[in-house]
């Protein structure tokens, strides 16, 4: 029966080729546009560190002066060096890391390479274990290196290959801003998306190429990048005692109980600082895990959401267009359907026949739409945005595209088919 319906559908299409093509193309464009924007949205709102995003927390304290206080108002998003250093030394979490973005000039030894600038991260030893950074060679530096301000560095695979042509470089030296650093590890491909641990340098930034102990970076006066907000006067905003927030501090806490205890510790720390006269406001702390932090910062670009809505609106119009055309087309065939009914076809089989016809159009549109989505994502990748290269169709989105195509085709077909199979055979036969 199914093949017979397909054959009927084929005949029907051939009677109105232009119209059939119009319906297929409309659905295809709707599905293609929607899936392109939904995929971008899906990529942009992905979990940057699956399985661990619930255990990693960003610490926020409120070291600002009491002036113009709003109770419970959002504390700054970064810490002062003084506070970050104190929390790091207290070592109350399972793991913790101080960090800031930076950049540094690298002078290659290799002939033919001119000095260049590399994005860096000045952090502490547990950064790598905490964020599950994969290593291609060597490993992280030690906490002892942090304390000794050791001249060590971890570099990315890309940087290693650029400088030395290999990743087998542990123990070799790299020249950073005129200082010799010993390479202790080379990290493998690693790009958490979004760049959750420091959104100030760009929410979808690529991973840094150079990692240096924070303590060493201070000694070498390596450049800091990102934001630095001062709430008081200072000759040097990057000094240890400066009233300026510019460091991120992340902790790993593997249970809710530990998180509660750590939050209590932060409150206690704030009160202590207030008693000592450093803090002037009542304790005001935040401890957000990765998900909460990304939600709070609304990292997904507004335009990406807006584009998705535009595409869905477009799909809706395409869908209504197709429903309208199918309906008129089916109703015009009332006579033919009346004859089939009179010859004994049940309402159900008429309905099935029409749904098969509509479904075929929907599926064809969906398949074409998949191609268009692929093309659309290719176009997105050509854009000069930081997240462009991430716009790839993955398995779940591929499945979702098929799902959307099928739902679309069903939506497009059900109403017209149901309306058309309501024909009273007698009336149709009589009038002609």
């Amino acid at each position: 029966m199914f093949t017979y319906y397909l054959d009927l559908a084929r005949r029907s299409f051939r009677r109105n080729t232009a119209l059939t093509v119009l319906m297929v193309v409309a659905i295809a464009f709707g599905v293609g546009a929607s899936m392109t924007t939904l995929t971008v949205l899906h990529v942009l709102s992905a979990d940057p560190i699956p399985g661990k995003s619930g255990d990693l927390y960003l610490v926020q304290l409120d070291p600002r002066t009491a002036a113009n206080i709003i109770a419970g108002a959002e504390p700054p998003e970064q810490l002062t060096w003084f506070d970050a250093d104190a929390l790091l030394r207290d070592h109350r979490a399972d793991r913790q890391a101080i960090m800031t973005g930076g950049s540094a000039a690298i002078e290659p030894d290799r002939a033919g390479l001119v000095p260049f600038f590399a994005e860096g991260r000045w952090t502490s030893a547990q950064f790598f274990a905490m964020f599950r950074v994969p290593f291609a060679a060597g490993g992280a530096w030690t906490e002892d290196d942090d304390a000794r301000r050791a001249r060590v560095a971890v570099i990315s695979r890309a940087l290693s290959e650029k400088l030395f042509g290999t990743v087998d470089v542990v123990g070799r030296a790299i020249r950073v801003e005129g200082a010799q650093l010993r390479i202790v590890g080379v990290i493998d491909a690693w790009r958490p998306t979004p760049h959750f641990y420091d959104l100030f340098v760009g929410a979808y930034d690529t991973t840094e190429q150079l990692f240096v102990p924070f303590s060493t970076s201070r000694e070498l006066k390596l450049q800091h990048s990102g934001s630095n907000d001062c709430f008081g006067e200072t000759p040097d905003p990057e000094a240890l005692g400066a009233p300026c927030v510019w460091l991120q501090f992340w902790v790993e806490l593997d249970s809710k109980a530990k998180a509660t205890a750590y939050r209590d510790y932060l409150v206690h720390y704030s009160e202590q600082q207030k008693a000592a006269g450093r803090f002037t406001r009542p304790a005001n702390v935040r401890l957000r895990d990765v998900r909460d932090w990304l939600d709070f910062k609304q990292v997904v670009p507004r335009d990406a959401r807006l584009q998705t809505w535009v595409a869905l609106g477009f799909l809706l119009v395409c869908l209504i267009n197709t429903v309208g055309l199918l309906l008129t087309k089916f109703l015009r065939r009332s006579v033919e359907l009346g004859v089939r009914r009179a010859l004994g076809a049940s309402k159900r089989s008429i309905f099935l026949q029409l749904v098969v016809e509509a479904g075929t159009i929907g599926l064809a549109g969906g398949a074409l739409g998949l191609g268009l989505a692929w093309l659309g994502l290719w176009a997105v990748r050509q854009q000069p945005t930081s997240y462009a290269e991430l716009a790839q169709l993955d398995l779940p989105m591929l499945a979702a595209t098929f799902g959307l195509a099928i739902i679309t085709s069903l939506c497009a077909g059900l109403l017209p088919a149901w309306r058309a199979c309501q024909v009273a055979p007698a009336v149709q036969l009589k009038s002609h």
Binding site: F29, K221, V317, G324, P384
Partner: protein, 407 residues
């Protein structure tokens, strides 16, 4: 023209008519809002900077090593060397550029130690020729005198006082509405009081707030900053020789001191294009979607009208046989389309307004100006009439003899 028979016919095709009305309404609503957003983005991309963009080149540069005690001297040498490139009119150091990638801002207030200063302004500093090189327009007061300039390190450690400031007209009007800003004292966080000595018409900052006024709050301080901190050299050149000058920049700077890295060499057009790329992409996307929507809707109207013409062939034949002219038939379908479009537009207006309300709430879009709605209505009426013309003409060509045949 009698509307009643048309309405009676439409009522018999209620579902199809409702669908086409819905389609027109949605298209109308989406296109109205899309065009509005496109206009908004284009306006953003065209925001004036207040500087002579055509004549400006920017070189972003950084030193190697962090203990460079000769930075100020090298900066002066660089500026002199760059000035000798043929085609260069003047050169300056700048700590930031309008629509650039780095941003310096300070709170500014009319009272000392203001606990809640109302707003921030962009802070431009660099070298003595900065205002001249940027080509900003002084509308009141004067430029800085050479003895007003202080060194960046001295200013930061408060060993030297920054005594004067030049602000944009926007800042002056915000701080001293209705008053003469010249000679007034302002306070920047962490600085001694400063006197306004000049007002410039406009100088956009890097941070482009939604409000174009706020995006152009800026001031210039007489502070000389070495290239190791400011990172930008600006070259004001003869516009016809931009390419030539850009090509000579690297060699010139390398001759002064080879151990540096030149990160960017851009015309101001490049800077603008890069800064507003997201807005441009969004505008193009909306243009594409709007066109596609209009085409799909037009094709939908054509499809539906063609079906109805086919379906009513016999009825049209009878009307022709009973004396209706070709014009009558043509007008019948045109009027029918006009009614459908009108219903769609009416619904579309309400929907456009609702979508705009939601966009205002969720995406900080402005209120849709009233003029968009009639413009959208005319557009869709025209679209409908053009789309229906083909099928309607075909209907008008149906001969009366059809009435006598069985279909």
């Amino acid at each position: 023209m009698h509307l009643l028979p048309i309405i009676a016919t439409l009522r018999r095709h209620r579902t199809a008519a409702t669908l086409i009305v819905l389609e027109i309404a949605l298209t109308c609503a989406i296109v109205c809002n899309a065009v509005f957003i496109i206009g908004d983005r284009l306006a953003r991309m065209e925001r004036p900077s207040g500087i002579v963009e055509d004549e400006l080149l920017r070189v972003e540069i950084t030193g190697i090593g962090t203990d460079r005690t000769d930075a100020a001297a090298v900066t002066a040498q660089d500026l002199n060397a760059l000035r000798t490139i043929p085609g260069v009119k003047s050169t300056a150091v700048a700590n930031m550029v309008p629509f650039g990638d780095s941003s310096w801002n300070e709170f500014i207030s009319t009272v000392p130690d203001d606990p809640s200063p109302a707003f921030t302004t962009g802070v431009y500093t660099g070298s003595q020729d900065l205002l001249e090189t940027l080509g900003v327009q002084l509308v009141a007061g004067r430029g800085f005198t050479p003895d007003e300039y202080v060194d960046f390190a001295a200013a930061r450690s408060r060993k030297a006082r920054v005594a004067s400031v030049i602000v944009t007209r926007g800042v002056a009007e915000r701080l001293f509405p209705g008053k003469n800003p010249l000679g007034q004292t302002v306070y920047l966080t962490g600085h001694d009081p400063t006197t306004i000595v000049g007002v410039i018409e406009r100088l956009a900052r890097q941070y482009q707030a939604n409000d174009p006024k706020v995006a152009a709050y800026a001031m210039v301080l007489p502070v000389t900053v070495p290239y190791t901190i400011a990172h930008n050299y600006l070259l004001r050149v003869n516009p016809t020789r931009r390419a030539e000058v850009l090509a000579a920049v690297d060699a010139t700077l390398t001759r002064v001191d080879p151990s540096r890295i030149i990160l960017e060499r851009q015309t101001f057009g490049d800077i603008r294009a890069k800064f507003f790329r997201q807005d441009r992409a969004m505008a193009w996307l909306l243009v594409g979607v709007s066109l596609a929507l209009l085409i799909i809707t037009a094709l939908g109207v054509i499809g539906l009208a063609s079906f109805w013409v086919q379906q009513r062939t016999r009825q049209i034949g009878i009307r022709r046989a009973l004396g209706a002219t070709r014009g009558d038939i043509l007008r019948y379908f045109q009027t029918e389309n006009f009614l459908l479009a009108s219903a769609g537009i009416l619904l579309g207006m309400a929907l456009a307004y609702a979508i705009n309300l939601w966009l205002m709430h969720a995406y900080q879009v402005d209120r849709l100006p009233g003029t968009y709605l009639p413009a959208g209505a005319v557009l869709l009426w025209l679209l409908g009439q053009v789309a229906v013309l083909g099928p309607a003409l075909r209907a008008s060509l149906i001969p009366p003899a059809v009435a006598t045949r069985t279909v």
